[in-house]
């Protein structure tokens, strides 16, 4: 059965979703003169000069290293903290358990912007502005509520027999968590790594406030400054954007299945 209309609608939507990325890549390969003359066509003779300039003459690697440190630090910290808490909430009885879970879940919806004033004042006071550890703490805190929510929901679906058997073997709770529960939870853990890494890597608000030092700038804060400086050199700017977008784009294309699953689970955030 041929139905041209739904196909056409999907084609148009996909084209609109794809055009900015294509424009970015195509323009990055044009020379400045060619872009001035032709803003929409394909490059006649692709030039890699802008990429060379971006990679060697700008601090883009430094920015990426900073972003990577923040992503790694906050993802590891939030996962460790969330796994412990989610295990207790899902599998143990204690007073205040339900209140803690409700409160933690509610924090998912608190806009990060309302936290910047007190955190900025506190960090100025105790010297945590422009430090990795300060920013990692904030990011880990911001992503923890969703991590706890997802892990608790998952841990509750694990069969009780598993736990009974481990208890008979004399395992402690920490051993059960590490040897029994976590190996069975790779799918939700991967989802959390993807969703949380995307959040931290893509964030601009916290990055411009808490990492003001040039040496500590993240990719997103870097390019926000960058585009103002090279305002008229559009192919060069696009090469910068392409380099900044590359890590997530490549991860998305390579780990598509996990990304799609992660995004679909993470969408409740």
């Amino acid at each position: 059965m041929m139905r041209p209309l739904p196909h056409l609608a999907l084609m148009i939507a996909s084209a609109i979703a794809l055009v900015p990325t294509l424009f970015m890549l195509v323009t990055a390969l044009k020379s400045q003169e060619e872009y001035q003359a032709d803003k929409t066509g394909l490059p006649d003779a692709p030039v890699l000069d802008h990429f060379r300039q971006i990679l060697f003459d700008t601090p883009v690697f430094l920015w990426m290293a900073n972003s990577l440190i923040l992503v790694a630090g906050s993802v590891v910290l939030s996962l460790a903290v969330s796994c412990l808490a989610a295990y207790a909430i899902a599998r143990m009885e204690f007073r205040g358990r339900d209140a803690l879970f409700t409160l933690s879940t509610a924090l998912m919806a608190v806009p990060p912007v309302v936290l910047i004033v007190p955190l900025f004042v506190l960090y100025s006071q105790i010297g945590l502005i422009s430090t990795y550890s300060g920013a990692i703490l904030i990011y880990a805190g911001l992503v923890a509520p969703f991590s706890v929510y997802l892990l608790v929901t998952f841990f509750r679906t694990l069969p009780q027999d598993l736990f009974d058997a481990a208890v008979l073997d004399g395992a402690s709770h920490l051993q059960i968590l590490i040897r029994v529960v976590l190996p069975l939870s790779l799918a939700p853990l991967l989802t959390l790594v993807i969703v949380n890494a995307l959040f931290v890597w893509n964030d601009l608000l916290m990055a411009v406030i808490f990492l003001q030092d040039d040496a500590k700038k993240t990719v997103m804060a870097g390019i926000a400054v960058f585009q103002g400086r090279y305002n008229n050199q559009i192919p060069l700017t696009m090469a910068g954007m392409a380099v900044a977008a590359a890590p997530m784009l490549i991860l998305y294309l390579v780990f598509q299945r996990h990304f799609v699953r992660g995004l679909m689970a993470g969408a409740v955030k």
Binding site: P118, G141, V260
Partner: protein, 289 residues
């Protein structure tokens, strides 16, 4: 320690409680305190409601509020487009997986990156206007970024472009979780696509549609900083045409060093978002029942 000690669960949740108290708990308490003080540096004297009076008497604050309200117009458009695209993907037409990959893409790209790219595309002498005039659509050739009358609408277009992808992701994952027998039965009864979508699929998606509308409202109110920071050149420009509440807080805190004023605006923003958070919880509870 013995495995049945009543302290064990508390040790497990202690790091989380500590982290959340540090980032959220203490911050929210201190935020309310600051909003009643004339903060210079790290603290200052109590001045009652004067921060609030100052903010509420300032035309720029109300302009920012109006702009955030204008952003809400994007929500219904987003819902309709995302719903249509999710239903189309759900049909599993040949090549639907490729379309899904492409349609999720805007949500994977970072806002600052696409904002920089779009800002160049929509320059007055940029490629968008070149294409529009080539198509003889000269009445649409606007100064998308540089004109104070148009800039916020351009920001809205950009938000629509990216956040619709989240809607597609959410709606599609709900559709995939639906019981297929009813849909199959309808298909065998000869119900057309439109009929199935309207009478069988959409009614079952009411919850997720409302959920998306509420989280989009939270976004429009309090998560558009990165869009306007790039499009408005860091200052909500041209002039104050793209000033929003978040940028107002940012300016008061970082540029003019008035944490008390920034805190007062944050408290008001938090109170409004509490209403939305309550709505979100009510929806989730109803979904679970």
């Amino acid at each position: 320690m013995r495995r049945n000690s009543p302290l064990v669960p508390y040790l497990f949740v202690l790091p989380l409680a500590g982290l959340l108290t540090f980032v959220f708990g203490l911050s929210l308490v201190r935020l309310v305190g600051f909003s009643f003080k004339q903060v210079r540096g790290i603290d200052g004297p109590w001045i009652g409601l004067r921060n609030y009076e100052l903010v509420l008497g300032q035309p720029l604050f109300w302009e920012a509020v109006r702009h955030n309200i204008q952003l809400f117009l994007v929500i219904p458009v987003m819902v309709v487009i995302a719903l249509a695209l999710a239903l189309l993907l759900y049909e599993r037409l040949p090549g639907w997986r490729i379309h899904r990959t492409i349609l999720f893409l805007p949500y994977v790209l970072a806002i600052p990156i696409i904002a920089v790219v779009m800002k160049q595309m929509f320059q007055f002498s940029g490629p968008v206007n070149t294409v529009l005039s080539a198509l003889s659509l000269d009445f649409l050739v606007l100064d998308w970024i540089g004109s104070a009358d148009v800039a916020l609408w351009t920001v809205m277009g950009l938000i629509l472009w990216r956040e619709t992808a989240l809607g597609v992701i959410l709606f599609l994952s709900r559709l995939m979780a639906l019981d297929e027998t009813l849909i199959e039965a309808a298909r065998l009864d000869g119900a057309g696509w439109r009929h199935r979508a309207w009478y069988i699929l959409i009614p079952q998606m009411r919850g997720v549609i409302e959920f998306f509308a509420v989280i989009s409202a939270i976004t429009m109110l309090s998560a558009v900083f990165a869009y306007v920071y790039v499009i408005g050149g860091g200052r909500g420009g041209p002039g104050t045409a793209t000033m929003v509440i978040e940028l107002y807080i940012f300016n008061a805190l970082i540029r003019t060093s008035l944490p008390g004023v920034a805190a007062a605006v944050s408290v008001m923003l938090f109170l409004v978002s509490l209403i939305l958070i309550r709505a979100l919880f009510a929806l989730r509870r109803r979904e679970e029942e």
